[in-house]
């Protein structure tokens, strides 16, 4: 079935899968956002315990999505894996470090003999929420702004400059995306808590913080998006494969791929509707679904304009011809074909995740449960 597809179609198919995983990851980073809100939304230990346990039953989805996103990128676009991870060393190491300290924190937080104390593990979760979101957003920002690297004739990366990727955080465009992701994750977290926890006090506080975080999110996101439309983008000639700078490239991409523009618009409306209905209606708990789906569509549209329509998805600002495109950075046709068969499992995986999530969420988290549940974080 996949054998009959051309290499280019397979590359496009895999860019869509990677984009989907990246978009799901941004949605699922409500876990990270929530980790920065424990002490804002919970004013006593019972309330904090409810919040921690609400996220504690979901954090592994986010973590696994991150790992799968990395694995899928490696399998489908290994030149990105080797160039970006090897090149922007410090950014990726800091991101990884933020996730290492998260992985133990839920399980160890309240356990007897945890050596570092409860507060330390809560700080770990906070650091993960702060660094994980901002740095991942910043790193994705370089998909549009470029990085300083070159590739030699054997496709080995050479990074220019000693900061090894940290310089990306000093670019206003990248940073605005990082901060937009950070505040979006907090927005999504408040919506998630409103849905997942059956408690008047936490609901009211979540609603208040929803508004507080929506404003900076919109400011940073709109700044990023509007500025992006005016940026020079990294285009390549489909025949010669030569990379060149094109004015308003990303605006052109939206206009030349109207389907992606529609995706962006529906996504943005979904996010705004999710936020708006939760703020304006009295007892709205479904905001997370609209904002979540909207997030997935919006982020996916950004990934698609980064990689489609003859655009370099990982441009080199140092040496244009070293820029990575879905054509020159991908795996062989054989591997993409084999992996495409594996991708048929994705709907099945999504289905059982939804079923398990639904089964577990039928009963909302309550103060009562925190007293009776034997396995608590």
């Amino acid at each position: 079935m996949f054998e009959s597809l051309s290499h280019l179609v397979l590359q496009q198919y895999w860019w869509i899968i990677v984009s989907l995983l990246g978009s799901l990851l941004v949605f699922l980073m409500f876990v990270q956002g929530g980790q920065t809100l424990f002490r804002n939304l919970g004013k006593n230990e019972t309330e904090v315990t409810m919040l921690v346990n609400s996220l504690g039953r979901k954090w592994e989805f986010t973590f696994t999505t991150l790992v799968t996103f990395g694995g899928a990128f490696f399998a489908s676009f290994p030149l990105f894996y080797s160039s970006s991870f090897g090149g922007a060393y410090w950014v990726w190491i800091l991101i990884l470090f933020a996730f290492v300290i998260q992985a133990v924190s839920y399980e160890f937080r309240t356990k007897a003999g945890n050596f570092l104390g409860q507060k330390t593990y809560e700080t770990f979760l906070f650091v993960n929420g702060l660094l994980g979101t901002i740095l991942i957003g910043t790193a994705v920002g370089t998909f549009f702004t470029g990085s300083s690297f070159s590739l030699n004739e054997m496709n080995q990366v050479n990074w220019e400059g000693p900061a090894r990727g940290l310089e990306a955080a000093f670019n206003v465009q990248n940073l605005s995306l990082g901060l937009a992701v950070f505040f979006l994750s907090r927005v999504l977290a408040t919506l998630y808590f409103m849905n997942n926890i059956d408690d008047e006090v936490i609901f009211t506080r979540s609603k208040k913080h929803l508004l507080i975080n929506t404003i900076p999110f919109l400011v940073f996101f709109l700044f990023f998006l509007i500025r992006l439309m005016f940026l020079n983008g990294y285009a390549y000639n489909p025949d010669t494969k030569l990379v060149f700078l094109e004015k308003f490239k990303y605006l052109h991409n939206f206009l030349q791929m109207p389907f992606v523009l529609v995706m962006l618009l529906i996504g943005v409306v979904g996010v705004l509707y999710g936020i708006g209905s939760s703020l304006l209606k009295n007892k709205c708990t479904s905001g997370i679904w609209f904002a979540g789906a909207g997030t997935v569509l919006t982020v996916m549209s950004l990934f698609l304009i980064a990689g489609f329509n003859h655009t370099s998805f990982y441009p080199s600002s140092y040496n244009l011809q070293s820029s990575l495109t879905i054509e020159n950075a991908s795996s062989s046709k054989f591997t993409l074909t084999a992996m495409s068969y594996v991708s048929l499992l994705v709907p099945f995986v999504l289905a059982y995740i939804c079923y398990a999530w639904w089964s577990m969420n039928k009963k909302k988290i309550t103060r009562e449960e925190m007293k009776t549940e034997e396995h608590l974080y």
């Binding site: 039953r57 979901k58 592994e60 989805f61 973590f63 696994t64 991150l66 790992v67 799968t68 990395g70 694995g71 899928a72 490696f74 399998a75 290994p78 894996y81 080797s82 970006s84 991870f85 090897g86 090149g87 060393y89 410090w90 190491i93 990884l96 290492v100 300290i101 998260q102 992985a103 133990v104 839920y106 399980e107 160890f108 356990k111 007897a112 003999g113 050596f115 054997m154 496709n155 080995q156 090894r164 795996s331 062989s332 054989f334 591997t335 084999a338 992996m339 991708s343 499992l345 994705v346 995986v349 995740i353 398990a356 999530w357 089964s359 577990m360 009963k363 549940e373 034997e374 396995h375």
Partner: protein
């Protein structure tokens, strides 16, 4: 391909960081691999019998599993991304093959594991008994599936099957998914590794239970746990020995230098004996063939273990370094020369292409499909990166001692399981104080044996990241060594602190017993 700067400190720190991460990761993974099966079996008995004691038991071991699992995840994520951060040339050179199992691991195994772990821990009162039981089994299957894919990837590094080199992209590309997945090395490695996890988990369960029996706490829990774990452990340890034997035969075939290091064999011989126990001499004496200060050797057994023939010639380290024409073994300098020819051909091809000399480029490109060139030159591609003969000899003492520790302990564990099962069947366990006192001390030994196995597998194949094709010096990311040193210590301190916390929490949870485990129907 390589700059003229000395890459040794960078390679050493990068290797140290990977070894640190892998060894910490492996402190936590085998217990997960094994105990998930034991938990699923216990829960099955609970669902079948309805006896709440079994539920209590299930929940107790599940609690310990949860503590262990979290830190396994923490150390695991680093490993995946370190291929990119620290071994970026490797990631490109073999990413076309190596990336696939990693992605499949995520899609197929990690999601299964993480989804159903949530049900396993929090679903007791939220889902039906059967759905919960299914979740426990799915966690065990998911954990072991993840082991399958990462071991397929590891096996491919040891024995690169189903692949061809593409000079255009300067990388290896997959030619057969099934050859990668079902390579005999991969299948055997998977079985050997998961059974080692089952053995370790059984020892863990028996050790903890023995401690309870000695203190006359949780007696029923302990007796039942020992019965389940000793049956499971005995079966697993027999399978471990069989797959270990299979592994030795494969190493003789695909990594004979590793086999020589494992046995401290410098001068090859026919009817080679297996050194069951030995103390090695210093390096100079060893290289002259006077390898051991003391040894206990079983005649002909090495020839038999390696080739199934007690008379066969088994090559030693010196046969590989200096060559042995009688046995058809090339010397390392000869391989280096051939490797250089292969590398030069690739460089010439690239230059011809860049210069627009397409006729020359095409003829050179064709060489990479020519069987004679592939077998006589490209096969030794990796040797072209370093002239030093010593560079290609692995660390013999560490490989030798690790191998012997693994094997001796492994057989010891088999005897231990048989005895515990015997005592359990006769109802004598509470009276067997000596064995009960000994059992908790076997737990650290099982960890030592398990780590020793990986030392043999990985240190014994140095300097290769991909056997014969890519040595560490060509695989490493070009960073300054200081950066890697900083991240090495960052991770060393972090993992150590977290491991202390983990052990401490585990000990507290064990002392606490099943007090909070409910156990009502």
């Amino acid at each position: 391909m390589l700059a003229s700067i000395d890459l040794t400190p960078l390679v050493d720190w990068s290797r140290a960081q990977f070894a640190l991460t892998a060894m910490y990761h492996w402190l936590f993974v085998p217990l997960t691999l094994g105990i998930t099966w034991i938990i699923a079996m216990m829960e099955t008995i609970y669902v079948k019998t309805g006896d709440p004691e079994w539920k209590k038991l299930t929940k107790f071991w599940m609690k310990l599993f949860g503590i262990n699992f979290a830190i396994g995840v923490a150390t695991g994520i680093i490993m995946e991304f370190e291929f990119g951060t620290n071994w970026s040339n490797y990631s490109w050179f073999v990413g076309d093959i190596f990336g696939a199992p990693l992605a499949i691991e995520g899609i197929m195994a990690f999601f299964m594991e993480s989804t159903f772990i949530a049900v396993m821990f929090f679903g007791w009162n939220k889902v039906s008994k059967k759905f919960h039981l299914a979740s426990s089994w799915l966690v065990a299957i998911g954990a072991n599936l993840s082991a399958l894919w990462i071991l397929v990837a590891n096996a491919w590094m040891q024995y690169p099957a189903g692949t061809a080199f593409n000079p255009e992209t300067a990388r290896n590309e997959m030619t057969s998914f099934w050859e990668v997945l079902f390579s005999p090395v991969a299948v055997n490695k998977f079985l050997h590794t998961i059974t080692s996890g089952m053995v370790l988990a059984s020892i863990f369960v028996i050790g903890v239970s023995a401690w309870f029996l000695l203190r006359k706490k949780e007696t029923r829990l302990a007796l039942r746990s020992i019965t389940v774990a000793s049956v499971f452990g005995l079966l697993a340890s027999v399978s471990l020995a069989l797959t270990g034997d299979g592994s030795a035969k494969q190493i003789a075939e695909v990594q004979p230098m590793k086999l020589a290091a494992m046995e401290g064999l410098y001068n090859g011989k026919s009817e080679a004996g297996l050194v069951a126990f030995g103390i090695l001499n210093g390096k100079e004496k060893r290289e002259t063939g006077e390898t051991f200060a003391l040894k206990l050797e079983m005649p002909n057994l090495l020839s038999w273990m390696a080739y199934g023939d007690p008379k066969r010639f088994v090559a030693g380290v010196n046969d590989f370094t200096h060559g042995n024409p009688g046995q058809g073994i090339l010397s390392i300098p000869e391989k280096v020369e051939r490797g250089k020819v292969a590398r030069q051909t690739l460089t010439d091809y690239k230059h011809a292409k860049a210069a627009g000399n397409l006729a020359k480029a095409d003829s050179l490109k064709l060489l990479f499909k020519d069987k004679t060139f592939l077998d006589s030159k490209f096969k030794y591609f990796g040797y072209g990166f370093n002239d030093d003969v010593k560079y290609y000899v692995p660390q013999v003492p560490l490989t030798f001692y690790s191998f012997h520790i693994m094997v001796i302990f492994g057989f010891g564990f088999m005897v231990f399981f048989a005895l515990m099962l015997f005592f359990s069947a006769r109802g004598e366990l509470p009276q067997r104080k000596f064995w009960l006192r000994l059992a908790p001390w076997i737990i650290p030994l099982s960890y030592v044996a398990s780590e020793a196995g990986w030392i043999v597998a990985e240190l014994g194949r140095q300097p290769w990241t991909i056997q014969d094709l890519l040595p560490t010096v060509a695989a490493v990311t070009k960073l300054d060594a200081g950066s890697v040193m900083v991240t090495f210590f960052l991770f060393a301190v972090t993992f150590t602190v977290l491991a202390i916390a983990e052990v401490n929490i585990m000990l507290k949870a064990i002392k606490h017993g099943t007090k909070n485990e409910g156990g009502t129907k």
